[in-house]
Symmetry: D2
Subunit: 429 residues, 4 copies
């Protein structure tokens, strides 16, 4: 009768056709005891340690070893501060999408954007969008805001204590800033937001992070702040946590969407009608129609923001350039807007949560560094430009996939490329 | 006076200290004309084509080439159907987290989970959680539902036409299923949901996808359905799109959270109090406190679901195992719950949107296949088990990071590992 | 420095200028002891009981009594089953908006819609929209779905028990339906949806409710189901609750927005361009522009759905017609869409959560019944028509307020009417 | 096969059993022409005008007239600035819930809260919660923030123009404040927030509103600001709207939930364990269990915040006290938290969007004023206290309904009261 029920019944039937209910219960039951073979030598990258880990491998290891463990002991030291329990490296193919002309506050010029992905048609689709932008004279791009937060939570007995605490924090922001800023040369405490929920207080400490993505930096700075608070606050929390799950770290949230997490970027392009026809095989009015229906589709499904597939380029760019790919969770929210203007097509994207850095994290690993070099954006001084490139490539992707959906080329592109047959790739989602 | 304003003013001042307003406007202006150097040879992986692309590289290419382009022309043919504009491969270090004892409907045994990441402490933290689970006898894990949708949109003139169309679709589901199922040997149309919004109709076609993640499969099957609809529907749409942004593809949405996208997995563990103390350095009551404050923190920030950092393991597992890392956007939603039960700790996670496959996509690339081999889950017949392992490792991570936050080890772990100094890693977020 | 901080500091300063911190703490402290004067005679509407309540009134009661307590003891018996601790009635002025021509599946004809409100310009604005619709030939309106849920929660020890329980529920839906349907002549169990979250199971029992709004009906039917479950389920819950906060009762939720709560209604109108000019003082293109910016505004602020001010007419209609005004919380979500079509204006609204009934609740109280009589929709057989009128009047309001915002009449309307001066009211929000 | 489909098919079958598809289409078709009888005499409350409106009434008007139109022409002049197209007043029965002891920053003492509702058991349930709070020594309550926004939208050609405009607004906040503050004696511009989305700028102007709810005040002040902007901005918008749907007016939004709309209030109580047993018939642990399951239920259904039924008391209080009942849409979001503390029960509610005033709106109408007099909160100087009472009564309701759900009295209370039979009412949702 019911939807989930109906599906679940089918599911249950399938299960029970292969195993009895008793067998299923037995499978789910705890299995205490038995040998536990721990992974040896956490941070050690020498041959012995790595060999000891491969000894855990189930079955014949030879082909897997060849594929994963192709660095020698010396070169793999490069990964020393980026991984534990190392057993090798996974190779993700990199294609370049471009040229992508960016007229940014920070990024200027024609970029070839390295995208690491295993999904057919993805690079081709972004490349088509990038070329369209470039032929239109490029896209404007601007970092509008920056900030990364940690949000400790403090539990008190009463609202009166909550209020007292917030009052004290408010009167001591300068001191807290000094405490935080002493922990890092690159970041600065830039804002403090207190949220009272009855006897609980959540405090978001927001930092600028220089050219780093900055999550570690803000964790350490906030830890120092918490130590200071515990030592000096006139009202003692019953307990507190360094992060009370309100910072938006590694998850999509309305709070980060409304404000900023990392860098907030917007990018826009005006594509002449003739170019819409020749390169994208459709019309500005087609884009307007799609936007109306697609924006409503996003609303109907309850997304945060409305956009098509920011996640595709962000994941591929983050992996290629040594960024934290888990941040796709928070970065892939934002807005896309298309409108017809006097026969031309205006398109804009806004991404409030781009988490990128050009120092720290995985940015100095050899192949990741090489990808940043393709962009000319490795090292200090380039994080804002990298964020603008992220916004620009997202705009390229929205152009290309939307055009494919309007022109009816969406499915063909997948079919042709994924099955290794035909020519013209249009889109990837 | 105002928050964003205050910050924006600071931002503007910084900008203007390096450039005048006119210069800023000039930077943002379109830059038409000039040479446009296109990327040559889209799918070609032979030396000539690859060389032609490297000729686009800005500046001295030698170190970048060495780092990215270390496959010979023969071996790089492996990537032929997974990338365009190939210039090399990025190497992401892989560590194994485990042993992780999973008592699943499909996954059974002690797994060593390959995680590809450049973030220090991540593998160590998951490994601690995995070991805790294993010492507790393992975690139960179950795939509860499966399904991947495409959601075309059809625009009509009136509600009467919308209703007429939906009535016709409802009466022809069996035919549409035959049309769809003919396009693939592995998937099946399993459900059809119509949403009327005035004169617009969005139809979600939901498919089982066998052991594939299935996004291409459902695209092609839905394209066939749309062709059939256009040929046979008694009421002709003004226009339609193969995807009207309501499927939840590549984005967090309440719809997918409420239902399923990919595979819906739940996992649970009961950790004895003594083990909570010895391995996690805290108490079940500490977890209960944290959960109350952290769940409210998630609610206050407006997340979809409440959880800590599913994204960390999902991104690392997806990259290692040749999955589509962009799907972290939709996969990293769900729920985590901890409660104290008679001196022990009960923990459960539920992830409704795990998008994994053991065939197709990047699963057969050499190093990705090697990672699946570490799990013993390469090839047909293993996708449900892989989803259960994904749920189980997510549970391990929630245990470990929560314990670190309660015990006050969160910041130390980051500091020690990221800076290459001290010993005991506890958590990563 | 920070926004909330800055504002909070101002707030604190204001507070402290009138009281010291110690005084503030004293104000917030518990005040145990002292006399507690309970309200006498819960359901009694006789003079003595009412007098005894008025004896609690602080200060001279005469003008308040005259205003509230103007029914005699006999006539106030009408309220006997609708209120406790009765002290009088509040009089809300009622204006009629119309004529509103509805071409509904159920509602047919020109309606004068009674709206109870104290907000100036509201009735005038809706009336303008209604007249526009009528002059355009009326609006189509259709009930698309119906259903009201209760969602008990059942706590088990393990996922295995959760699964066992869901399997048993699935196999016994027919029995549960018989149990539920025996409790009411008007409603029927129409759907059962199970959600597993680790060891917890939430079950949404969804009912048709005939011509009643139905919340009490579904509560009693679900209570009977729960009793049956507890007596017969092969797996006993650790504990359970008749409602586990997942039904969407009295709150906006994505679940109810995606599906239905009460009755799902859509309404549309095509307004000729000339009428847009003469009656609404703007153009179809103006509406399209507004919709693009306003839909994005809704998205940016994180609403559920996108619409302008459904709440205004729903609250006024619910109060006038004896509906549960608290349901405005869930009813005031949905979507509004405007587009220009060949020189005309197409507008549509969709409201998935209209909670109305024409029997039960407050529908038979004298003045509330009179308002239903204005609509010709009192008593059995009219609930679907009332829902369609609700959708139609919502469409009228969206037309009128949007036109006012486009034409720049929004503020003037408020100023003129609220201050009792000038003529042409255009809008109210 | 599918859920909505299955239900829709049933729906369609029912429809088609009473009418053919052609008849249904005919019903939905526009019906142009025919007489249109307009409502006469918009603001006129004299006998002639009212009579002329009653002449529109379909059928015999006598009983309806008696029920609605019982004021004489003189007394009904009281409604002159609050309604158009007046035809009478609807009488909503008022019960008092209390005594409710509030230890607020502004509200102090034992209140009898007038609630206007037609829903049986509602007043009784709130009264039980209020009495429990009072016996526990009362609840603390605090207004934490205040502010009401209007959010005009400005459309430009480019991001460069957007940025230029925001820079100018930022540099002219003091002037804009002077312009705004000149329009009202009671409100003040307190904050300005700019959101850039590509070439669009949304500006939220936030005001304090004194003792008024303030929506009209902020509309007029913002209109003055917009006039100033248009006259003086160095960059001219392509078009603008006084409200671009981003203020959260009359709708639940994450933005207002995260910040404030109206007044943000929190309230808390510590109920001794013995009182939980004697008055609420359960235990603090029972509340903790319910909270865990109910908070997760709210999360699973995708609500904004997590709470039980704030809407019930807010709607009833707003109607009784001449507030804008449509604001229930935005007011009924927030958080409820229960925890067991050393054998006692701690409960807290936080409502960020309480929209109340003690001057303006409907507050001076006779019966509405009488309700404010019951609270001792009519007129200037009392709006913050009224907001604290709103928070306190919401807390009372959460206590009572949660207790009823735990103790299993929820359904019984509805049954007994609604059917006019038995004694002890426990809860209402």
């Amino acid at each position: 009768m019911a939807y989930d029920l109906g599906r679940s019944i089918g599911w249950l039937k399938t299960l029970l056709s292969t195993a009895s209910a008793d067998e299923l219960r037995a499978r789910l039951a705890p299995k205490p005891g038995g040998p536990i073979r721990r992974v040896p030598g956490r941070d050690d990258l020498d041959d012995d340690a790595v060999e000891a880990r491969w000894a855990l491998f189930p079955g014949a290891a030879a082909p897997a070893r060849a594929a994963l463990l192709d660095d020698d002991a010396a070169s793999r030291q490069a990964y020393r501060r980026n991984i534990e329990h190392f057993v090798g490296t996974v190779k993700v193919p990199v294609g370049i999408a471009g040229p992508l002309r960016v007229n940014g506050l920070h990024a200027q010029g024609d970029y070839y954007v390295p995208l690491a992905t295993t999904e057919a048609a993805l690079v081709a689709s972004y490349s088509r969008g990038a070329l369209t932008i470039t032929e239109a004279g490029g896209c404007a791009a601007a970092v509008l805001n920056t900030g990364v937060s940690r949000a400790p939570g403090f539990a008190f007995h009463t609202i009166a204590e909550s209020g007292h605490f917030v009052g004290w924090v408010m009167s001591n922001v300068a001191t807290l800033k000094a405490v935080a800023d002493a922990t890092t040369r690159h970041g600065q405490l830039a804002d403090v937001q207190c949220t009272i929920e009855g006897s609980s207080v959540y405090v978001a400490f927001e930092f600028t992070t220089g050219d780093a993505a900055g999550q570690n930096m803000v964790t350490l700075a906030t830890a120092a702040i918490c130590q200071h608070i515990l030592a000096h606050s006139p009202v003692t929390p019953r307990y507190h946590f360094l992060e009370a799950n309100m910072s938006g770290d590694k998850k999509a949230s309305h709070q980060s969407f409304l404000h900023v997490r990392g860098r907030k970027v917007t990018a826009e392009v005006l594509v002449p009608g003739a170019l819409v026809a020749s390169r994208l095989h459709t019309t500005p009015e087609g884009f307007e129609r799609y936007w109306r229906m697609g924006a409503m589709g996003g609303v109907l499904s309850g997304t945060i923001g409305v956009q098509g597939h920011f996640a595709n380029c962000l994941a591929a760019l983050y992996i290629a350039c040594g960024q934290d790919a888990a941040c796709v969770a928070e970065s892939a929210v934002g807005t896309t807007r298309f409108e017809a203007r006097d026969g031309d097509l205006y398109g804009a994207v806004t991404l409030p949560n781009v988490i990128v850095g050009t120092v720290g994290g995985g940015t100095m690993l050899p192949s990741q560094r090489a990808c940043l070099d393709w962009l000319g954006l490795a090292g200090a001084g380039h994080a804002n430009a990298l964020a603008e490139v992220a916004g620009a490539i997202a705009l390229a992707g929205e152009l290309s996939i939307t055009a494919a959906l309007i022109a009816g080329h969406f499915a063909q592109a997948h079919e042709a490329l994924a099955r290794g047959t035909a020519p013209l790739p249009a889109a990837r989602a």
